[in-house]
Protein backbone atom coordinates (compact mmCIF):
# COMPACT_ATOMS: atom_id res chain seq x y z
CA UNK A 1 0.00 0.00 0.00
CA UNK A 2 1.28 3.43 -0.86
CA UNK A 3 1.91 5.84 1.97
CA UNK A 4 -0.62 8.31 0.65
CA UNK A 5 -3.44 5.79 0.48
CA UNK A 6 -2.48 4.50 3.93
CA UNK A 7 -3.15 7.93 5.38
CA UNK A 8 -6.38 8.15 3.46
CA UNK A 9 -7.63 4.84 4.80
CA UNK A 10 -6.60 5.98 8.26
CA UNK A 11 -8.66 9.14 7.97
CA UNK A 12 -11.66 7.13 6.80
CA UNK A 13 -11.14 4.87 9.80
CA UNK A 14 -11.14 7.96 12.01
CA UNK A 15 -14.47 8.96 10.49
CA UNK A 16 -15.90 5.50 11.00
CA UNK A 17 -14.75 5.36 14.60
CA UNK A 18 -16.26 8.75 15.29
CA UNK A 19 -19.58 7.77 13.73
CA UNK A 20 -19.72 4.50 15.63
CA UNK A 21 -18.99 6.28 18.89
CA UNK A 22 -21.75 8.84 18.30
CA UNK A 23 -24.18 6.10 17.29
CA UNK A 24 -23.28 4.18 20.43
CA UNK A 25 -23.86 7.21 22.60
CA UNK A 26 -27.16 7.97 20.90
CA UNK A 27 -28.57 4.50 21.34
CA UNK A 28 -27.49 3.99 24.95
CA UNK A 29 -29.92 5.82 27.18
CA UNK A 30 -28.44 7.73 30.10
CA UNK A 31 -29.33 6.03 33.35
CA UNK A 32 -31.91 7.91 35.39
CA UNK A 33 -30.52 8.57 38.81
CA UNK A 34 -32.41 9.26 41.98
CA UNK A 35 -31.36 12.81 42.74
CA UNK A 36 -33.63 13.41 45.70
CA UNK A 37 -31.88 14.45 48.86
CA UNK A 38 -32.54 13.04 52.30
CA UNK A 39 -35.23 15.55 53.08
CA UNK A 40 -37.23 14.82 49.95
CA UNK A 41 -36.98 11.09 50.50
CA UNK A 42 -38.22 11.58 54.04
CA UNK A 43 -41.15 13.64 52.76
CA UNK A 44 -42.04 10.97 50.21
CA UNK A 45 -41.86 8.36 52.95
CA UNK A 46 -44.15 10.42 55.13
CA UNK A 47 -46.65 10.78 52.29
CA UNK A 48 -46.69 7.04 51.82
CA UNK A 49 -47.16 6.48 55.54
CA UNK A 50 -50.06 8.90 55.56
CA UNK A 51 -51.58 7.04 52.63
CA UNK A 52 -51.20 3.78 54.46
CA UNK A 53 -52.78 5.16 57.59
CA UNK A 54 -55.75 6.46 55.63
CA UNK A 55 -56.23 3.14 53.92
CA UNK A 56 -56.05 1.30 57.23
CA UNK A 57 -58.65 3.63 58.70
CA UNK A 58 -60.95 3.00 55.77
CA UNK A 59 -60.53 -0.74 56.21
CA UNK A 60 -61.28 -0.43 59.90
CA UNK A 61 -64.46 1.57 59.23
CA UNK A 62 -65.63 -0.95 56.65
CA UNK A 63 -64.87 -3.83 59.03
CA UNK A 64 -66.83 -2.12 61.75
CA UNK A 65 -69.87 -1.72 59.50
CA UNK A 66 -69.60 -5.37 58.57
CA UNK A 67 -69.42 -6.42 62.22
CA UNK A 68 -72.40 -4.26 63.05
CA UNK A 69 -74.41 -5.90 60.34
CA UNK A 70 -73.49 -9.34 61.60
CA UNK A 71 -74.22 -8.52 65.22
CA UNK A 72 -77.62 -6.90 64.64
CA UNK A 73 -80.99 -8.54 64.21
CA UNK A 74 -82.65 -8.46 60.80
CA UNK A 75 -84.88 -5.51 61.70
CA UNK A 76 -81.97 -3.47 62.90
CA UNK A 77 -80.08 -4.44 59.78
CA UNK A 78 -82.92 -3.05 57.70
CA UNK A 79 -82.83 0.17 59.67
CA UNK A 80 -79.09 0.51 59.25
CA UNK A 81 -79.40 -0.14 55.54
CA UNK A 82 -82.08 2.50 55.17
CA UNK A 83 -79.97 4.91 57.17
CA UNK A 84 -76.98 4.40 54.94
CA UNK A 85 -79.17 4.73 51.85
CA UNK A 86 -80.51 8.03 53.18
CA UNK A 87 -77.00 9.21 53.92
CA UNK A 88 -75.81 8.30 50.44
CA UNK A 89 -78.83 9.91 48.79
CA UNK A 90 -78.29 13.15 50.64
CA UNK A 91 -74.63 13.05 49.70
CA UNK A 92 -75.43 12.56 46.01
CA UNK A 93 -78.11 15.25 46.01
CA UNK A 94 -81.32 13.23 45.80
CA UNK A 95 -82.79 14.95 48.85
CA UNK A 96 -83.47 18.54 49.68
CA UNK A 97 -80.63 20.30 51.41
CA UNK A 98 -81.03 23.01 54.01
CA UNK A 99 -78.47 25.25 55.60
CA UNK A 100 -76.65 28.51 55.42
CA UNK A 101 -75.00 29.67 52.30
CA UNK A 102 -74.59 32.23 49.59
CA UNK A 103 -76.90 33.42 46.82
CA UNK A 104 -75.38 34.67 43.59
CA UNK A 105 -77.56 36.87 41.41
CA UNK A 106 -76.40 37.06 37.84
CA UNK A 107 -77.94 39.83 35.80
CA UNK A 108 -77.12 41.59 32.53
CA UNK A 109 -75.36 44.94 32.44
CA UNK A 110 -76.82 47.42 29.98
CA UNK A 111 -74.46 50.01 28.69
CA UNK A 112 -75.74 52.83 26.58
CA UNK A 113 -73.92 54.97 24.11
CA UNK A 114 -71.54 52.44 22.54
CA UNK A 115 -73.70 51.38 19.66
CA UNK A 116 -77.30 51.45 18.72
CA UNK A 117 -77.82 47.72 18.82
CA UNK A 118 -77.90 46.10 22.24
CA UNK A 119 -77.49 42.35 22.46
CA UNK A 120 -79.10 40.59 25.38
CA UNK A 121 -76.25 38.74 27.08
CA UNK A 122 -76.51 35.10 28.11
CA UNK A 123 -74.57 32.82 30.41
CA UNK A 124 -72.43 30.48 28.31
CA UNK A 125 -71.71 26.91 29.46
CA UNK A 126 -67.98 27.65 29.60
CA UNK A 127 -68.60 30.62 31.86
CA UNK A 128 -70.96 28.59 34.05
CA UNK A 129 -68.49 25.71 34.35
CA UNK A 130 -65.80 28.16 35.32
CA UNK A 131 -68.05 29.67 37.95
CA UNK A 132 -68.95 26.25 39.35
CA UNK A 133 -65.29 25.26 39.50
CA UNK A 134 -64.47 28.42 41.33
CA UNK A 135 -67.30 27.92 43.82
CA UNK A 136 -66.12 24.37 44.47
CA UNK A 137 -62.57 25.59 44.93
CA UNK A 138 -63.68 28.05 47.61
CA UNK A 139 -65.61 25.50 49.64
CA UNK A 140 -69.09 25.12 48.20
CA UNK A 141 -70.90 21.98 49.31
CA UNK A 142 -74.13 21.93 47.32
CA UNK A 143 -75.04 24.09 44.36
CA UNK A 144 -78.37 24.77 42.69
CA UNK A 145 -78.49 26.82 39.50
CA UNK A 146 -81.93 28.35 38.89
CA UNK A 147 -83.51 25.59 40.97
CA UNK A 148 -81.54 22.85 39.21
CA UNK A 149 -79.61 20.91 41.80
CA UNK A 150 -76.09 20.06 40.66
CA UNK A 151 -74.93 16.50 41.29
CA UNK A 152 -71.61 14.98 40.41
CA UNK A 153 -73.16 13.73 37.17
CA UNK A 154 -74.91 16.95 36.18
CA UNK A 155 -74.01 18.03 32.66
CA UNK A 156 -73.60 21.67 31.66
CA UNK A 157 -74.05 21.78 27.91
CA UNK A 158 -74.66 24.05 24.98
CA UNK A 159 -77.72 22.88 23.04
CA UNK A 160 -78.58 25.02 20.00
CA UNK A 161 -77.17 28.10 21.64
CA UNK A 162 -78.99 27.54 24.91
CA UNK A 163 -77.27 26.57 28.13
CA UNK A 164 -78.63 23.31 29.53
CA UNK A 165 -78.12 22.09 33.08
CA UNK A 166 -79.38 18.61 33.99
CA UNK A 167 -80.74 18.36 30.42
CA UNK A 168 -83.10 21.28 30.98
CA UNK A 169 -82.60 24.75 29.55
CA UNK A 170 -81.74 27.57 31.95
CA UNK A 171 -84.19 30.47 32.00
CA UNK A 172 -82.96 33.72 30.54
CA UNK A 173 -81.15 36.20 32.78
CA UNK A 174 -81.31 37.25 35.54
CA UNK A 175 -80.92 33.98 37.40
CA UNK A 176 -79.88 32.92 40.88
CA UNK A 177 -77.33 30.39 41.98
CA UNK A 178 -77.74 29.01 45.49
CA UNK A 179 -74.69 27.63 47.20
CA UNK A 180 -74.57 25.86 50.56
CA UNK A 181 -71.39 26.22 52.55
CA UNK A 182 -70.13 26.16 56.12
CA UNK A 183 -68.64 29.63 55.96
CA UNK A 184 -70.91 31.86 53.88
CA UNK A 185 -69.05 35.06 54.68
CA UNK A 186 -65.75 33.64 53.56
CA UNK A 187 -67.21 32.32 50.32
CA UNK A 188 -68.83 35.67 49.71
CA UNK A 189 -65.52 37.44 50.17
CA UNK A 190 -63.78 35.03 47.85
CA UNK A 191 -66.42 35.46 45.15
CA UNK A 192 -66.35 39.24 45.47
CA UNK A 193 -62.67 39.19 44.63
CA UNK A 194 -62.69 36.28 42.21
CA UNK A 195 -61.64 36.20 38.58
CA UNK A 196 -65.08 35.04 37.55
CA UNK A 197 -66.37 38.49 38.29
CA UNK A 198 -64.03 39.98 35.70
CA UNK A 199 -64.85 37.28 33.21
CA UNK A 200 -68.56 37.87 33.71
CA UNK A 201 -68.07 41.60 33.20
CA UNK A 202 -66.39 40.96 29.87
CA UNK A 203 -69.56 39.19 28.76
CA UNK A 204 -71.74 42.05 30.04
CA UNK A 205 -72.87 40.17 33.13
CA UNK A 206 -73.00 41.36 36.69
CA UNK A 207 -72.79 39.20 39.79
CA UNK A 208 -74.24 40.10 43.17
CA UNK A 209 -73.33 38.00 46.17
CA UNK A 210 -75.47 37.79 49.30
CA UNK A 211 -75.15 35.57 52.33
CA UNK A 212 -78.21 33.78 53.61
CA UNK A 213 -78.71 32.03 56.93
CA UNK A 214 -81.41 29.61 55.83
CA UNK A 215 -81.72 28.21 52.37
CA UNK A 216 -83.39 25.20 50.88
CA UNK A 217 -81.92 23.62 47.81
CA UNK A 218 -84.27 21.53 45.66
CA UNK A 219 -83.55 17.86 45.17
CA UNK A 220 -82.33 16.29 41.98
CA UNK A 221 -85.34 14.39 40.70
CA UNK A 222 -84.32 12.82 37.39
CA UNK A 223 -82.95 9.27 37.40
CA UNK A 224 -79.20 8.94 37.72
CA UNK A 225 -77.58 7.38 34.68
CA UNK A 226 -74.83 5.16 35.91
CA UNK A 227 -74.33 2.98 32.83
CA UNK A 228 -70.85 4.22 32.14
CA UNK A 229 -69.66 3.58 35.68
CA UNK A 230 -67.70 0.43 36.30
CA UNK A 231 -66.57 -1.37 39.40
CA UNK A 232 -62.95 -0.89 40.28
CA UNK A 233 -61.05 -4.10 40.43
CA UNK A 234 -60.54 -4.12 44.18
Amino acid sequence: MKKNSKWMVSVICLFIGFMVAIQFQTTTQPEVRDTRDEWEVREALQDEQKNQRELLEKIRAADKTLEDYEAQSSQEQLATLKESIDLLESRVGLTEAKGKGVVLNISPIFQEGFSSEQLYPSLTPQMLSRLINELNTYGAEDIAIANERLTNLSPVRDVNGMTYVNNRPLPSLPLTIQVLTDQPQKLKDYMEASQSRDMLSIENLDMEVETSETMTLPKYDAPLHLEILEETGE
Binding site: S5, M8, C13, L14, I16, M19, Q23
Partner: protein
Protein backbone atom coordinates in the same frame (compact mmCIF):
# COMPACT_ATOMS: atom_id res chain seq x y z
CA UNK B 1 -1.34 -1.82 8.95
CA UNK B 2 -1.48 -0.42 12.46
CA UNK B 3 -2.11 3.15 11.46
CA UNK B 4 -5.79 2.64 10.44
CA UNK B 5 -6.50 0.74 13.65
CA UNK B 6 -4.84 3.48 15.68
CA UNK B 7 -6.95 6.09 13.90
CA UNK B 8 -10.09 3.99 14.44
CA UNK B 9 -9.36 4.00 18.18
CA UNK B 10 -8.66 7.74 18.13
CA UNK B 11 -11.98 8.33 16.37
CA UNK B 12 -13.82 6.14 18.86
CA UNK B 13 -12.33 7.90 21.86
CA UNK B 14 -12.94 11.31 20.31
CA UNK B 15 -16.58 10.45 19.76
CA UNK B 16 -17.01 9.09 23.26
CA UNK B 17 -15.21 12.00 24.91
CA UNK B 18 -17.07 14.78 23.09
CA UNK B 19 -20.43 13.41 24.29
CA UNK B 20 -22.27 14.35 21.08
CA UNK B 21 -25.76 12.95 20.70
CA UNK B 22 -27.77 12.81 17.50
CA UNK B 23 -31.47 13.68 17.93
CA UNK B 24 -33.74 10.65 18.13
CA UNK B 25 -35.33 11.40 14.74
CA UNK B 26 -32.00 11.21 12.91
CA UNK B 27 -30.56 8.13 14.60
CA UNK B 28 -31.84 5.98 11.71
CA UNK B 29 -29.71 7.93 9.25
CA UNK B 30 -26.61 7.62 11.36
CA UNK B 31 -27.05 3.90 11.92
CA UNK B 32 -27.37 3.24 8.21
CA UNK B 33 -24.41 5.50 7.50
CA UNK B 34 -22.34 3.48 9.98
CA UNK B 35 -23.40 0.30 8.20
CA UNK B 36 -22.36 1.77 4.84
CA UNK B 37 -19.03 2.81 6.29
CA UNK B 38 -18.38 -0.70 7.59
CA UNK B 39 -19.27 -2.10 4.20
CA UNK B 40 -16.83 0.21 2.48
CA UNK B 41 -14.08 -0.59 4.96
CA UNK B 42 -14.47 -4.34 4.49
CA UNK B 43 -14.67 -3.84 0.72
CA UNK B 44 -11.38 -1.95 0.90
CA UNK B 45 -9.71 -4.74 2.88
CA UNK B 46 -10.96 -7.30 0.39
CA UNK B 47 -9.70 -5.26 -2.54
CA UNK B 48 -6.32 -4.94 -0.84
CA UNK B 49 -6.11 -8.71 -0.42
CA UNK B 50 -7.11 -9.23 -4.03
CA UNK B 51 -4.50 -6.61 -5.01
CA UNK B 52 -7.09 -4.50 -6.82
CA UNK B 53 -7.12 -1.68 -4.29
CA UNK B 54 -7.63 1.79 -5.73
CA UNK B 55 -7.69 4.72 -3.35
CA UNK B 56 -9.97 6.83 -5.55
CA UNK B 57 -12.53 4.03 -5.70
CA UNK B 58 -12.23 3.59 -1.95
CA UNK B 59 -12.68 7.26 -1.14
CA UNK B 60 -15.58 7.85 -3.53
CA UNK B 61 -17.16 4.56 -2.46
CA UNK B 62 -17.08 5.62 1.17
CA UNK B 63 -18.71 8.99 0.69
CA UNK B 64 -21.09 7.84 -2.04
CA UNK B 65 -22.32 4.84 -0.07
CA UNK B 66 -22.81 6.81 3.12
CA UNK B 67 -24.74 9.58 1.41
CA UNK B 68 -26.78 7.15 -0.71
CA UNK B 69 -27.76 5.22 2.41
CA UNK B 70 -28.79 8.40 4.21
CA UNK B 71 -30.71 9.54 1.13
CA UNK B 72 -32.49 6.20 0.90
CA UNK B 73 -33.52 6.48 4.54
CA UNK B 74 -34.73 10.02 3.91
CA UNK B 75 -36.70 8.94 0.85
CA UNK B 76 -38.23 6.11 2.86
CA UNK B 77 -39.39 8.54 5.53
CA UNK B 78 -40.90 10.83 2.89
CA UNK B 79 -42.70 8.03 1.07
CA UNK B 80 -43.84 6.21 4.19
CA UNK B 81 -42.04 3.02 3.06
CA UNK B 82 -39.28 1.62 5.23
CA UNK B 83 -36.76 1.92 2.42
CA UNK B 84 -33.84 1.97 4.81
CA UNK B 85 -34.52 -1.73 5.36
CA UNK B 86 -33.51 -2.25 1.73
CA UNK B 87 -30.20 -0.54 2.47
CA UNK B 88 -29.74 -2.57 5.65
CA UNK B 89 -30.40 -5.76 3.71
CA UNK B 90 -28.08 -4.86 0.83
CA UNK B 91 -25.25 -3.78 3.14
CA UNK B 92 -25.75 -6.80 5.38
CA UNK B 93 -25.46 -9.21 2.47
CA UNK B 94 -22.40 -7.42 1.15
CA UNK B 95 -20.79 -7.42 4.58
CA UNK B 96 -21.12 -11.18 4.80
CA UNK B 97 -19.86 -11.68 1.23
CA UNK B 98 -16.85 -9.47 1.81
CA UNK B 99 -16.06 -11.18 5.08
CA UNK B 100 -16.28 -14.59 3.38
CA UNK B 101 -13.94 -13.49 0.60
CA UNK B 102 -11.51 -11.99 3.12
CA UNK B 103 -11.56 -15.25 5.08
CA UNK B 104 -10.87 -17.27 1.92
CA UNK B 105 -8.05 -14.99 0.91
CA UNK B 106 -6.42 -15.12 4.34
CA UNK B 107 -6.71 -18.89 4.47
CA UNK B 108 -5.34 -19.24 0.95
CA UNK B 109 -2.49 -16.84 1.40
CA UNK B 110 -1.33 -17.51 4.91
CA UNK B 111 -2.33 -20.93 6.13
CA UNK B 112 -2.21 -22.97 2.95
CA UNK B 113 1.19 -21.69 1.99
CA UNK B 114 2.42 -22.59 5.47
CA UNK B 115 1.04 -26.13 5.10
CA UNK B 116 2.59 -26.50 1.70
CA UNK B 117 5.95 -25.46 3.06
CA UNK B 118 5.76 -28.21 5.62
Amino acid sequence: MWLPILFLLIGLSLGLLTDIRVPEAYSDYLSIAVLAAFDTLLGGIRAQLERTFNETVFMTGFFFNVSLAAFLAFLGVQLGVDLYLAAVFAFGVRLFQNLAIIRHQVIDQKLLTKFRKK
